[in-house]
């Protein structure tokens, strides 16, 4: 068939009729939007045929055009594993390009680029006997997918405590649905906290609220401050971070050859950002140093880790472009 369409692929013509028919690039179409709070919206996306489904707690990479330019970001799925369409719940980051677009503007029918679901913030099989979920702000999204999946399953709801914090009651994503789930499932206890009223979550107040905390497997998702405090205080906390780890801006920047062109990397800027702003198509995933979806081979020179400020790298090393900046001239191969 492709002999008839060379140098294009058959799908380049088929997708004139429906962009979702693509078999080489996964896409989705926005089919519904639901306002959750003043700052948050759930966006439901019908995925193309190649979508392989997700496990509760995983995130999806979404590429969306804002003023003609494609931006790629990760969003945890809030929909249950069984849902036909996927849903992400996005909370606006002030000044943020993609979150603002998704929360305020994106019209129904918009076609977005999708990556297959990824991430290891998932429940083990068999389930632990007792669970504690600690979430804050938009950090509720992956846990919501877990709870919705468990609620839809035939097996009874395991013994779960969810402590969820948001600024105010009005600002709490899924407040009503969480209360409803708790009412229907006696083994699920939901504690809703409001940082604007009672202050932020911390390990001590959580220990007070959940006396058997030490006997529970803990999953936490929220701002870095909370996650850092939890991992410092308790052992074996499974965390999911939405924000890139704090960055040293000690990086000196430099001129980097990316594939066949030359890119100026600013001090403190990641190679990924620098490449993208120069119009390069860069592989990426979580954009925060976890997934290794962004690694590229270093051909010459060294790079600087933005988290530690350390310069590192040998020719041939695979470097994560999302958390490394330049330190002087270097050259990196593009796929």
């Amino acid at each position: 068939m492709s002999a008839l369409t060379t140098p294009l692929l058959p799908e380049d013509f088929l997708t004139l009729f429906d962009p979702l028919w693509s078999t080489t690039s996964l896409r989705g179409r926005v089919v519904a939007r639901r306002r959750e709070t003043d700052r948050a919206v759930s966006v439901t996306i019908e995925p193309g045929r190649a979508w392989a489904g997700h496990r509760a707690g995983q995130y999806v990479g979404i590429g969306i055009d804002v003023d003609g330019v494609r931006y790629r970001r990760s969003y945890s799925l809030s929909s249950p594993e069984t849902a036909e369409h996927l849903t992400v719940t996005v909370q606006e980051v002030p000044g943020g390009v993609v979150s603002t677009e998704l929360v305020r503007n994106v019209p129904i029918g918009t076609v977005v680029e999708l990556e297959q679901a990824a991430g290891g913030f998932t429940l083990p099989d068999p389930l632990p006997g007792r669970l504690l979920f600690v979430t804050a702000g938009s950090g509720i999204t992956p846990v919501m997918s877990m709870l919705r999946t468990l609620a839809a399953a035939a097996a009874p709801m395991p013994d779960i405590v969810l402590v969820h914090s948001a600024r105010t009651p009005q600002d709490t994503i899924f407040a009503a649905e969480l209360a409803g789930l708790a009412a229907r499932h006696p083994s699920l206890r939901v504690v809703q906290r409001h940082s604007g009223v009672t202050g932020r979550l911390d390990p001590a107040s959580l220990d007070a609220a959940v006396p058997d905390r030490a006997a529970r497997t803990v999953y936490a998702c929220g701002p870095d401050g909370l996650l850092d405090a939890l991992t410092d205080a308790w052992d074996d906390v499974v965390v999911e971070r939405f924000t890139p780890p704090a960055r040293e801006s000690e990086g000196t920047g430099g001129t980097v050859e990316l594939g066949d062109s030359t890119v100026e990397v600013q001090p403190g800027q990641s190679l990924l950002e620098a490449g993208e702003s120069a119009g390069k198509i860069m592989p990426s995933g979580c954009r925060m140093g976890i997934c290794f979806g962004c690694v590229l081979p270093l051909r010459e020179g060294r790079v600087r880790d933005l988290r530690t400020g350390q310069a590192h790298g040998e020719p041939g090393d695979l470097v994560q472009t999302c958390i490394n900046s330049a330190c002087g001239p270097a050259s990196i191969d593009l796929p």
Binding site: A3, L4, L8, S25, D65, D67, G68, V69, G279, I281
Partner: protein, 394 residues
Amino acid sequence: MTATLDTTVTDSEPGPEETGLVRQPQRPLLELVPSTRRADVQATTALTAEQIEELGRRLDAIRDRVLDERGASDAAYIRDVIGKQRALEIGGRALLFAGVLPPAWIAGTAMLSIAKILENMEIGHNVMHGQWDWMRDPKIHSSTWEWDNVSSSAEWKHSHNYLHHTYTNVVGKDRDVGYGILRLSEEQRWTPYYLGNPLYNFLLSLFFEYGVALHDLEVEKVAAGEKSWSRVWQQVKSIGRKTGRQVFKDYLAFPALAGPFFLPVLAGNLTANVVRNVWSHAVIFCGHFPAGAVQFSEEQLADESRGEWYVRQLLGSANLDGGRFFHLMTGQLSFQIEHHLFPDLPSNRYAEIAPEVRSLCEEYGLEYTSGPLWKQYLQVLGTINRLALPNGKR
């Protein structure tokens, strides 16, 4: 002023001292080889180095403004052109299946020809220039695009984007000057071979895509020891593969699908490919070689400043006049001057900045060469005929 052939032919080859005449006393700006436009050359050198740099800054400002404004409407433009081009191709091929009926054959062939021209000119050429890379759409990106042409996009990006756009109209460097087949400049030593200049041009025009592909081979570099035969062989294989696929698709697969109507489909596809070749040859030759465009010597390249680079691009290129559809069909190469100044700005913006570039040229006394296609093409043919004979005499 558009120089005509009769008035501008120089009677004798000037000696080296005479060539030096075009240098400014205080500073060598643009060193030009003797060409058909010596009068205009003198006009350019009337600019001081400061004026040339100022012009460079003002052109940079135009570029920065367009970069700043680039956005959703530009993205919509290229997606729309790509969508229409593919629809035309599907429609054209479908109509050709009914090609035993003459009106269907004519309409189908016309649609397919237009589709092929759009694919090469407005889409392929411009996407490969990286004009749309800023959208970061992997489907419309210079690193992923492959076009319907026997020259692979990787080879083309080297010979065209790099060699031609860097060394525009520098005889001996810009391999587009004559494509290694024709004599397009007095600087090229005449041999009896060039008596065939008009014939070679005619054949090049019919088989332009093959000419371009072979030209990418840079065979003359092998003789000079700058290139290995194995590299040439690698390229030949790539051209062979692409040619094979194209020949199979246009001259076997689609005609065969039409069953009893094999021949009309074959003829339609062949016609469309030839129309595309002749058209792109004409547009491309009018971009640099009508009497108005200037050619340069290699010395010009040494220590060339940003401003001088701009001026060389300006004087080496010529625009074509026409309406919106005409500009689209030339892939906006009718704005050759703007394209050479800003090869990576989205093509849909050239029309908008052309008046600004033109008035800058007027202000600085630089010739902005422009004319209708037929007129420019006649001039190109005139030059080609004239240079078939030694010393450019008729």
